[in-house]
């Protein structure tokens, strides 16, 4: 057996978290919660919530009328059950701050209704027309439910922008944590996908992200708010390849126990292959990468270094350090997906 040092340094070809974002002009502050409040899918969800309650009430209190409308036999118990399901979904959608899972419950309910209607269609020849019309209506509502659910589900916005937030306790005062964060040029030390951040002027900085296959993504950003020891907010400048924005808050821990650092970011991957690769990098669990960034940030401040096993000896030919590193795993996945896309595009061109 041949043994080599398990060297992994410099294998991180890209990563990005604060990279690609979207900024909403009319806002002085930024928080993902606020963003959820006044966008269209919100009002659509509200409509679906009331629709659920209305339909549910009709099924419970006027099963006969509903049956006639649909052209099916009156079955009070079944309608009662369906009605309660509708009302529950509706209340969930209207009262929960994150209604996505309740919207998904509507999608499930739609599937149930569609299969019941299919059964009815097969057994009630006389009222076929009305049942078909009802089916068409349910299909329409299902599409709406599906669309709305997907849009409100974790992280991904209507326009493809990704937003996420994470917090991390750091055993240092807000003053110390703020001062460390304030020095943007420190960022690549804990955000491994950043190649560099350069301060270019008053409140201005230039960011370079290593993207898959040796590509680079660059943009300029400005600090839009800076309250010492409390909050820093930033956004990309007009005309950037990637639009992005974010904020970090430094909250004094209860009883003076260090600082809770809260990061919120929103970014929109650019069009084209780089954007596709970046979207894959963050796709399923955008918060996880931010969390790892914050973990390394915490290590740097508390322990003075980010501990690693890269380069340690082992009795094997290939290192396994990367195998367990979440950032590298995500990278490898994005790189793979990117190369696959490239290959298939090449094939198409040929």
């Amino acid at each position: 057996m041949t043994m080599y040092p398990t060297s992994e340094s410099g294998r991180r070809f890209s990563e990005s978290s604060l990279s690609v974002q979207r900024w909403r002009e009319d806002r002085d502050g930024f928080s993902p919660q606020a963003l959820f409040q006044d966008i269209d899918e919100e009002s659509m969800a509200r409509f679906l919530g009331w629709f659920s309650i209305g339909l549910g009430a009709a099924e419970v209190f006027a099963p006969g009328a509903v049956a006639r409308l649909l052209g099916v036999k009156k079955r009070s118990a079944l309608f009662g059950f369906l009605g309660i399901r509708e009302i529950t979904s509706g209340i969930g959608i209207l009262t929960q701050r994150r209604p996505a899972s309740w919207l998904w419950s509507r999608v499930g309910g739609d599937m149930m209704d569609l299969s019941l209607l299919a059964l009815a269609l097969a057994s009630n020849r006389r009222t076929r027309g009305r049942i078909a019309a009802a089916t068409a209506a349910v299909v329409g509502v299902t599409a709406l439910d599906l669309l709305c659910s997907e849009q409100l589900s974790d992280g991904v916005g209507r326009d493809g922008s990704i937003r996420t937030g994470k917090s991390m306790h750091v055993n240092r005062s807000p003053e110390e944590v703020y001062n460390f964060w304030k020095n943007y040029e420190n960022f690549p030390r804990f955000m491994y996908y950043l190649e560099s951040v350069k301060v270019t002027g008053d409140q201005r900085s230039h960011w370079v992200v290593k993207a898959p296959a040796g590509m680079k993504v660059e943009w300029d950003a400005e600090t839009v708010q800076d309250i010492p020891n409390e909050r820093i907010a930033w956004r990309s400048l007009e005309g950037s390849t990637v639009t992005n924005s974010g904020e970090v808050r430094f909250e004094r821990g209860p009883g003076g126990r260090g600082t809770i650092v809260r990061v919120a970011v929103e970014y929109r991957p650019p069009a084209g292959p780089i954007g596709a690769a970046i979207a894959k990098l963050f796709g399923r669990e955008p918060g996880q990468l931010i969390k790892e960034d914050l973990r390394r940030f915490k290590q740097l401040i508390e322990a003075g270094e980010v501990i690693t096993t890269e380069g340690q000896p082992a009795g094997r030919a290939r290192s396994t350090s990367l195998k367990y590193d979440i950032t590298s795993r995500r990278n490898a996945y994005a790189k793979n997906a990117f190369e696959k896309d490239e290959a298939s595009q090449k094939e198409e061109r040929l």
Binding site: M1, K298, I307, Q312, P313, A314, G315, R316, T320
Partner: protein, 395 residues
């Protein structure tokens, strides 16, 4: 250098690997003069703990001479003779500052895996799975020691390697188990498992003033050691019913505190033992918690259950009803070794205890695989194996 590497269940090889070097600024490299096989290494040897990789260097009990230090290690230098604690701890986070070193926030590069499984990640450990950091271990000629300024203790001249080596793990582990019992004058402490950690728990319970210590095992030589070295009364669980015997000994009160120094690979005669063996083999249970069940049932009402034994995952039929209704306190955790290194070294220096009493077998590093086999099967009355690098024979 030579290192003892894991290649799978019951598959170890002492093989040539690259020498370690300084990677982080608070690292040191130690030339190992003595190392040991721990009972918890046997869980890895038996392939029961996930996230091991072929080629991982085992071992978390080691000592030696510092040959290189990183630029941020200010309190150690080349030539220092040191013992290394098995948890890797930064010394600065919330937990380290509260002396809970094995809960360090900053020493596990793979914290996210442990977090998924357990809700939070404990400290990284030497040679103990990638979930706990994937750090190369100390059954080797050299080892890289991260956060060496916090994780090592300097050893004065006049003490042999065997007298101080166990400050790396099993002595503090047994000591913390006894300390967790909050021993009061007149207390009876029962200790399940008379392996090396059990022996140190028994000896420490004595040091901390227990009136009676009861040692429970099935191997006569281990019970003999507990009796002769620490004056423990003994119960051989294959010969008598443990619960009944403890109740008879204490007039029905039960021991004031019970220590489970066995953990996930318990052995028990009869149907209860068979039940967990089958469940563990079928991956329906990660551990075999027979001892823990017995400990909870035997412990005095309002008493303390102290668990230094290693558990891995999700266990079945733990008598929570007894735990709640008897108002028991549970104390457990990986050992906060750095908290105990100095006070325990002082006890050794004062001659209050000579930890080398547990050593039964002395092997060359190259014989590590044989050592594991011998320790696992308790061949030749094996209780503790130490390994000496750089020698073909060692006595």
């Amino acid at each position: 250098m030579k290192a003892n590497c894991w290649y799978g269940k019951h598959d170890l090889q002492v093989t040539q690997v690259p020498d370690p070097k300084i990677i982080n600024r608070r690292d040191a490299v130690v030339k190992i003069t003595l190392t040991a096989i721990c009972g918890s290494d046997l869980h890895l040897y038996n392939g029961l703990i996930p996230t091991m990789e072929k080629g991982d260097i085992l071992g978390h009990e080691f000592m030696g001479e510092i040959v290189e230090v990183g630029p941020e290690v200010k309190n150690r230098r080349s030539g220092d003779r040191v013992v290394v604690g098995f948890p890797i701890s930064c010394g600065n986070c919330f937990f380290c500052q509260k002396q809970m070193f094995s809960l360090c926030e900053n020493s596990n590069p793979n914290a996210w895996i442990a977090q998924k499984l357990m809700g939070h990640s404990p400290a990284g450990l030497f040679g103990y799975t990638h979930m706990l950091g994937g750090f190369a271990g100390g059954q080797a000629e050299y080892a890289r020691v991260p956060f060496a300024d916090v994780g090592t203790i300097k050893i004065p001249d006049g003490l042999s390697d065997e007298q101080v080596l166990f400050i790396s793990d099993i002595f503090p582990t047994g000591y913390m188990a006894a300390e967790n019992c909050n021993i009061q004058p007149g207390d009876t402490i029962a200790v399940w498992g008379c392996g090396p950690v059990g022996q140190f728990a028994i000896a420490s319970a004595r040091l901390l003033g227990a009136e009676r210590v009861v040692a429970i095992d099935r191997f006569p030589e281990r019970l003999r050691m507990a009796h002769s070295k620490s004056g423990a009364e003994t119960i051989n669980y294959e010969e008598t019913d443990v619960y009944e015997t403890l109740m008879e000994m204490t007039g029905g009160l039960g021991p004031d505190a019970c220590i489970d120094a066995v953990g996930m690979e318990a052995h028990m005669p009869g149907i209860a033992g068979a039940y967990d063996r089958v469940k563990q083999a079928m991956m329906m249970e990660t551990d075999r918690p027979m001892v823990l069940r017995q400990v909870i049932l035997a412990c005095r009402k309002g008493g303390t259950v102290s668990i230094p034994g290693v558990y891995g995952g999700f266990d079945d039929k733990i008598p929570l009803g007894a735990l709640m209704n008897k108002a028991l306190t549970i104390k457990t955790g990986q050992t906060h070794v750095q908290r105990y290194m100095k006070p325990l070294l002082e006890r050794v220096q004062k001659g209050e205890i000579d930890p080398s009493f547990v050593v039964t077998h002395r092997l060359a590093l190259e014989a590590a695989p044989e050592g594991y086999e011998m320790f696992l099967n308790k061949q030749d009355e094996c209780i503790k194996v130490v390994l000496k690098p750089g020698m073909t024979t060692y006595h």
